[in-house]
């Protein structure tokens, strides 16, 4: 990937952050949520790529949460 493509990608990341904030004003409420979001912002703005371990941990948490959500009650 050339530097030009990298700049384009960075612009997309910034756009992604803006979208996430705009789309979830009611979801982001707790201090824990803010901390999580802060971490995501930091990761994005500092250009730090998640390590393989961090990415795996994040994916594992997503997998577990998905299973939890699907197990929640949905009867009338």
């Amino acid at each position: 990937m050339s530097i030009i493509a990298a700049i384009g990608g960075a612009a997309t990341v910034i756009s992604l952050v803006k979208d996430a904030v705009a789309a979830a004003p009611t979801v982001i409420k707790t201090a824990k949520d803010m901390l999580e979001l802060g971490k995501a912002f930091w990761t994005t703005l500092t250009g730090k790529e998640p390590t393989a371990e961090e990415a795996a941990d994040l994916s594992r948490r997503v997998d577990l949460l998905h299973a939890e959500v699907q197990a929640l009650p949905d009867h009338d």
Partner: protein, 145 residues
Amino acid sequence: MKRLLLPLLMSLALAACVTVNPNEKSVLQGGTSVTASISNPVGARELALVEQGYLLAGNAVKGFAAYCYPASGIRPPGCAQRGPIMRAIKSADRKAYAAIVAARAFVRNNPNVSAVSAVGAARSAVNDFIAALQNAQAQTGAPLS
């Protein structure tokens, strides 16, 4: 003949500009080349951000379920339509999760290719998941935190 020759020469010149030397190091990694290949950190970072968004929304769904399906068994007044709402949330969750899994595979299997398309699809699906949650809150008044 000159008309044909000029575009040919221009294309050769442009091709020379984008030729990538595999031994060159990108300026983004402390080198001097602006055309050298680098790994695709944007894909991994974007994916992490989408997964963070999913975690925020998924935890809020648990809050919604605790409100509309209390242990006491007494349904709050705003939760008359809790079944259809919860099923809609779960449907959006399945789509978001499937898109995230697809994006993960793309990023893992294509480390030097832009993952904007795959991660963009995941982002869109997670946004739909968040929208389903916002709709649930609007219909029931459930606190999501």
